[in-house]
C-alpha cells in the first residue's frame, strides 16, 4: 500500500548511528525561540486502531472482489484505498504548516498550576479542526484554528518549587478528518513560568510578627475611609477593584480610600525569627500577600536586594519575583 511506503518517509526514526540523539531531538523538538513552523520533519503520523481496522476492511473487500470477480467491488476497494491515502495526507496537513508561538504565562505560587498558552496560527485558507494539546501524557484542550487566524491553546503544569519553571516539550495531536490516522508533533517553545514561593499558612506564622505587624496593618486598613470610585490605573491593587461595578459597566473601576495614612512596613529577611531559607521565603510571601491585600505600603529586604516601599500591582509583582528568584 502506498501509504505504508510514504509512512516511512514521514515517520522518521532517529538515526542513532550517525547523529547523537540529543542533536536529533534538539533539531526537531527544540527548545525554540519565536515562531516555529511545523514542517515535514516535525509532524509524525501513524494509523490509529480504527485505521488498522479500516485496513482490515480493505483486505476483506479486496478478497471478496477477487473471489466473486466483481469489477465494481474492485472499484470500491480501490477508491477506499485512495481515500485512506488522502485521509493520511489530510491528517498530516491538518498539523503541518501550522505556525506556533509561545503565549504568555501568568506567574503562580508554588503548588498552584501554571497555565501555559500556545499561539497556533493557520496561514492557509482552510480551517484546521480539532487540534489537541497534550502535556505530560494528559490532554488539556482541543482547538480549531480558522483560516488565517490565531487560536490559543492552553496546558497546565504542576509547580513544586519556586523559581523559573521550564514548560519543556508539549504535544499537538490531531485525528481530523477521519480518525484513521493520528498526526502529532513534539515541540518545546522555551516557555517559562515564574513560580513564587508557596505562602506560609497564617497559622504557621510566628506570633510576634503577626501581632506586631499585623496590628499595624489592621490599623492602617481601619483608618482608611471609602472615598469613591475612579478609573482603574495600571498599578492599582486588584483587591481594590470594584468588581460589582465592573460586572455592571464592563469598565475597570478602583475603589479609592482617603483619610487613612498608609502604614509603612518592611518585610525583612533579617528580622524574621524563622529558620531555613525556604521557610523564611514562604513566610515573607505570606506577609507580602497580606500587606498588599490590606493596601499597605511595604518594602522588601533580602540579602543583597532591597526594594523601596511602595504599593500596587507592579510593586507587588516585583517583590514576589525577587522572592521567587532569590538565590538563583
Amino acid at each position: 500500500m502506498s501509504y505504508i511506503f510514504s509512512l516511512k518517509s514521514f515517520f522518521r526514526l532517529p538515526d542513532f548511528t550517525r547523529k547523537p540523539v540529543f542533536k536529533f531531538i534538539a533539531k526537531r523538538i527544540g527548545p525554540f525561540k519565536g515562531t516555529v513552523i511545523l514542517d515535514r520533519n516535525r509532524v509524525y503520523i501513524l494509523p490509529t486502531k480504527a485505521g488498522l481496522i479500516f485496513l482490515l476492511l480493505l483486505l476483506l473487500l479486496l478478497l471478496g472482489s477477487v473471489n466473486y470477480n466483481k469489477s465494481l467491488g474492485y472499484v470500491l476497494t480501490f477508491i477506499l484505498v485512495g481515500l485512506g491515502n488522502v485521509i493520511m495526507f489530510a491528517t498530516w496537513k491538518n498539523l503541518a504548516g501550522l505556525r506556533l508561538r509561545a503565549g504568555g504565562c501568568m506567574p503562580v505560587f508554588s503548588g498552584e498550576k501554571a497555565l501555559f498558552a500556545v499561539q497556533l496560527e493557520n496561514p492557509d485558507a482552510q480551517t484546521r479542526y480539532s487540534i489537541a494539546v497534550m502535556y505530560q501524557g494528559k490532554e488539556f484542550e482541543v482547538v480549531d484554528v480558522p483560516a488565517g487566524a490565531v487560536s490559543l491553546a492552553h496546558f497546565q503544569a504542576d509547580t513544586t518549587r519556586r523559581g523559573i519553571l521550564d514548560a519543556g516539550r508539549f504535544r499537538l495531536n490531531t485525528e481530523f478528518p477521519a480518525g484513521l490516522f493520528v498526526a502529532w508533533t513534539w515541540i518545546d517553545l522555551s516557555m517559562q513560568c515564574l513560580v513564587y514561593p508557596k505562602p506560609a499558612p497564617r497559622t504557621e506564622m510566628p506570633v510576634s510578627i503577626s501581632s506586631e505587624e499585623g496590628d499595624q496593618a489592621m490599623q492602617g486598613a481601619g483608618m482608611e475611609e471609602y472615598a469613591g470610585l475612579r478609573k482603574y490605573q495600571s498599578g492599582d491593587s486588584w483587591r481594590r477593584i470594584a468588581w460589582k461595578v465592573v460586572a455592571r459597566t464592563d469598565e475597570l473601576v478602583t475603589r479609592e480610600y482617603s483619610g487613612g495614612r498608609p502604614q509603612l512596613q518592611w518585610i525583612d529577611w533579617q528580622t524574621l525569627p524563622i529558620s531555613g531559607n525556604e521557610a523564611r521565603l514562604s513566610a515573607m510571601t505570606r506577609l507580602l500577600i497580606d500587606a498588599e491585600a490590606a493596601g499597605q505600603v511595604y518594602g522588601l529586604r533580602l540579602p543583597g536586594v532591597e526594594i523601596e516601599p511602595a504599593n500596587g500591582r507592579t510593586h507587588y509583582a516585583r517583590c514576589l519575583k525577587a522572592l521567587a528568584l532569590y538565590g538563583d
Binding site: 473487500l61 480549531d144 477521519a178
Partner: protein, 649 residues
C-alpha cells in the same frame, strides 16, 4: 469517550442509505425488525428512552438470528449474511459508547454497500454507491470533529473533495492491479439466486415467464455484417430427455470429443464476440454450427464452461451457418428416439399415420408442420393448462401454445415416427442498436425449437413455431402477431424519442460493461497489447502498480498540500501580503498577530531602512485592496509585482 446521542441520527440515516437498495430483497421478518430498531433508536435520540441494557441486547441479537432462521432457514450464505450484518449494525447503535463503536458501524456500511454488486453492477448502482461512500466518509468527519464545529455542508464538501482526490489512485489500481481468475474459495450456492435466464430444462411456463422480462441476455458484436434475422438461432442447451412433462438434458456424462462434419467446408464464416450477462449456468450461447470456440464444445455443439457464469462474461466464436453437424452414433440414436411409456397414445397414432402417408422423413416433417399450419393452432403467451397426456391435450384439445409447446410436440411426433429429434433452447433474434454497432438479445427473445436427424443432411433445425406464427421468426417477438396488451411495455413500439433514449441508455450500458464490468485479466492484457506491450506478466504489472501508486501518491500529496493555499480572487491581497511577511520572517523580522500592517511597516522601516519605499508601497496596496473600496486589478498586479521583487535589505 462518550458520544452525544444527537450524533446517532446521521449514523442511522447512513445505515438506511446503505440498506436502501437491499430492502426490496429482504424478507418481511427482517424488515419488521429493522423498522422497530429504527423507531427504538429514534426514541433514544429524542431522549425518551435509554440504550437497552446488555441483557436486552443479547435477547435482541437472539431475535435477529431467529428471524433469519425463520426467513432463510440458515444464517449462512450471502443473503442471510447481508441481512445479519445489516441488523447487527442497527443493534450496534444500541450499545454505541465510544468513537470506535461508531467507526465500526461506518466500516460495516462500506462493506455492506459492496454486497449490492452481487445483484447488479449497473452504472446506476455505481453512482449510488459513490454517493453513499461520500456520505459515510462525512460521518467519519463528524466523529473526528471534536468541537462539533463543522456543519453538514462543510462535512460533505470535505468528504467530496477527499473522495475525488482518491480517484487517481483508484484508476491506477483498477487498471494495473493483477487480476486473478476464479474464486479463492467456494462461492455460496445462493450467490446466483437473483439471476434470470433460460434454465436447464423446459417445462410448461419456463420460457414464457422470460418473455415478459426486458433484461438483456447478452450483446453481440459481429465482425462483419450480421446474419439475417431468420438465421439468428442462439443455441444454448440441447434437451434430449422427456418424462412426459419436462424436457431435460441427458444425465449421462458428456462425451466431450466433438466429431463435427461439415457438408460445406468453405462457406462464409461468421465471427462474433458475445458479452453474456451473468446467468449462473455453465453454458454459452452461440449461433449454429460452431467452427471455433475457446471453450469446450460437446458433440451436440454446446459450448460449455468449467465454472458457472456469475459475472459478465465475454467470448468470441466462429460459426458456419451453411454447415451441418453430422455427428451421430448408436447411443445418440437411441437417446433421441426415447419416449415415456404409456403416454400420449393418440399422438403416437397420429405420427404413425402421417409417416405412413409421407413415405420419407423429409415429407413427413413437412406434413407435421403442415398439420400445425392447417389446423386451428394459436400462438399465445397465456396457454391453458395441460392434462396428464400433455402432448395429446395440446395437439387435439387446447391447440394454444408457445414455442415450448410447439417444439415439444413436434419432437414428440418425430420420435414417435422413428426420426431422431431433440429440443434446443436458447434465444432467437436480436435487435441491432442503431446508435452503436452491436446487437442486443433480450430475455424476451427466449425461444425453443427442434433439431431432427436426416440421414443425408445431418442434424437439421426445424422451428415449428414458425409454422404457426412465421413473423415471430422473421421479425422478432414484437411482430409475432400477439395482442399488444400482452406484451411488456418495452416491446411495444413507441415514439421516436423513447426509442432513441432506450438505445442511448443501452449503448451506455454496453460501454460500461465493456470497460468497467468486463475488465478482467484478458481485457487487461488486451489493453497493454494496444499500448504495444505484449505478454505482460503479473509480476511486471505489480511492480508497475507500485511505481504508479508512489508517483500518484506524491501528486495527490501535493494536491492535498496545496489546496489550502489556493489563491481565490478575494484573497490575492492576503496571500501576497503573507508572502511579503514570510520574506521578512526569513530575514528575522516576524509580524505579530496583534500588529497592524502600519505598525509592522514602522518596524520594518526601522530595521531595514533600505527597503522603506518598497515595503511602504506593498503595505499601501495591501491596505487599498483589503480595506479600501478600490479592488482594481491594477492594484493587484502592482502588489504581486512589488512582493515578488521585494528583498529585505
Amino acid at each position: 469517550m462518550a458520544i452525544d446521542e444527537h450524533k446517532f441520527t446521521p449514523v442511522l440515516i447512513g445505515i438506511h442509505l446503505v440498506a436502501l437498495p437491499i430492502y426490496s430483497r429482504l424478507p418481511p421478518y427482517v424488515l419488521l425488525l429493522i423498522a422497530s430498531f429504527t423507531i427504538w433508536t429514534l426514541l433514544i435520540i429524542t431522549g425518551r428512552t435509554r440504550q437497552p441494557v446488555a441483557f436486552i441486547r443479547i435477547l435482541l441479537a437472539g431475535a435477529v438470528v431467529v428471524s433469519l432462521l425463520v426467513s432463510y432457514g440458515t444464517i449462512l450464505g450471502q443473503e442471510p449474511g447481508t441481512s445479519m450484518l445489516l441488523m447487527l449494525s442497527f443493534l450496534k447503535l444500541f450499545e454505541m459508547k465510544s468513537k470506535r463503536d461508531v467507526l465500526l458501524v461506518i466500516f460495516l456500511g462500506y462493506f455492506l454497500v459492496a454486497t449490492n454488486f452481487f445483484h447488479t453492477q449497473s452504472p446506476w448502482i455505481a453512482a449510488y454507491v459513490f454517493v453513499v461512500v461520500i456520505y459515510l466518509t462525512s460521518l467519519l468527519i463528524i466523529f473526528s470533529d471534536r468541537l462539533s464545529s463543522t456543519n453538514f455542508k462543510t462535512r460533505i464538501k470535505i468528504s467530496l473533495r477527499m473522495v475525488v482526490q482518491s480517484i487517481p489512485l483508484m484508476l491506477i489500481l483498477f487498471v494495473l492491479f493483477p487480476r486473478i481468475q476464479g474464486p479463492l474459495w467456494g462461492i455460496p450456492d445462493d450467490a446466483k439466486s437473483a439471476i434470470t435466464g433460460v434454465g436447464d430444462e423446459m417445462s410448461p411456463g419456463s420460457i414464457n415467464n422470460l418473455i415478459s422480462s426486458g433484461a438483456v441476455a447478452f450483446r453481440v458484436m459481429f465482425k462483419d455484417e450480421p446474419p439475417e434475422q431468420k438465421d439468428l438461432y442462439w443455441r444454448g442447451l440441447v434437451l434430449s430427455h422427456y418424462d412426459g412433462r419436462t424436457w431435460r438434458r441427458d444425465d449421462a456424462p458428456e462425451d466431450l470429443r466433438p466429431e463435427i462434419e461439415y457438408v460445406t467446408a468453405d462457406a462464409k464464416l461468421i465471427e462474433y464476440a458475445v458479452m453474456l450477462e451473468p446467468h449462473g449456468r455453465k453454458w454459452l450461447y452461440s449461433l449454429e454450427n460452431l467452427v471455433a470456440s475457446p471453450y469446450t464444445v460437446t458433440r451436440e455443439l454446446q459450448a460449455i464452461t468449467e465454472k458457472e457464469i456469475n459475472n459478465l462474461f465475454s467470448y468470441s466464436m466462429i460459426s458456419n451457418l451453411q454447415a451441418t453437424n453430422k455427428a451421430l452414433n448408436a447411443q445418440e440414436i437411441k437417446k433421441n428416439l426415447l419416449l415415456p411409456q404409456g403416454l400420449n397414445e393418440k399422438s403416437i397414432a397420429l405420427a404413425k399415420k402421417l409417416r405412413m402417408a409421407a413415405g420419407n422423413n423429409v415429407t413427413y416433417t413437412n406434413s407435421v408442420l403442415n398439420y400445425f399450419k392447417t389446423n386451428p393452432f394459436f400462438y399465445t403467451l397465456s396457454p391453458p393448462l395441460l392434462g396428464e397426456n400433455a402432448i395429446d391435450d395440446f395437439i387435439f384439445n387446447s391447440r394454444q401454445g408457445f414455442c415450448e409447446h410447439y417444439s415439444g410436440a413436434f419432437v414428440y411426433l418425430m420420435r414417435a415416427a422413428g426420426v431422431p429429434a431433440r429440443v434446443v433452447i436458447g434465444y432467437q433474434g436480436g435487435t441491432l442498436n442503431p446508435l452503436d454497432d452491436y446487437m442486443i438479445v433480450r430475455q424476451s427473445d427466449a425461444h425453443a425449437w427442434a433439431e431432427i436427424w436426416l440421414d443425408d443432411r445431418g442434424w437439421t433445425r426445424v422451428d415449428p413455431t414458425a409454422a404457426v406464427s412465421p413473423s415471430r421468426i422473421d421479425y422478432g417477438i414484437t411482430n409475432a402477431g400477439l395482442e399488444e396488451s400482452r406484451l411488456p411495455f418495452f416491446l411495444v413500439s413507441n415514439s421516436q424519442l423513447l426509442f432513441q433514449l432506450r438505445y442511448t441508455i443501452d449503448s451506455l450500458n454496453h460501454s460500461w460493461n465493456k470497460w468497467v464490468i468486463g475488465f478482467n485479466d484478458k481485457k487487461q492484457r488486451e489493453l497493454f497489447e494496444m499500448l504495444g506491450i505484449k505478454d505482460i506478466d503479473k509480476a511486471t504489472l505489480f511492480s508497475w502498480m507500485v511505481v504508479a501508486m508512489t508517483l500518484s501518491g506524491g501528486l495527490v500529496f501535493l494536491w492535498v498540500f496545496k489546496q489550502g493555499e489556493t489563491k481565490s480572487k478575494r484573497d490575492v491581497a492576503s496571500y501576497y501580503y503573507g508572502v511579503f511577511c514570510r520574506k521578512l520572517e526569513k530575514a528575522g523580522l516576524i509580524k505579530l498577530p496583534s500588529e497592524s500592517a502600519d505598525e509592522f511597516l514602522a518596524r520594518v522601516v526601522q530595521i531595514f531602512p533600505a527597503s522603506k519605499v518598497k515595503a511602504s508601497s506593498i503595505t499601501h496596496y495591501y491596505q487599498c485592496l483589503r480595506y479600501g473600496s478600490d479592488d482594481s486589478d491594477k492594484h493587484k498586479k502592482r502588489l504581486i509585482d512589488a512582493v515578488k521583487r521585494f528583498r529585505a535589505e
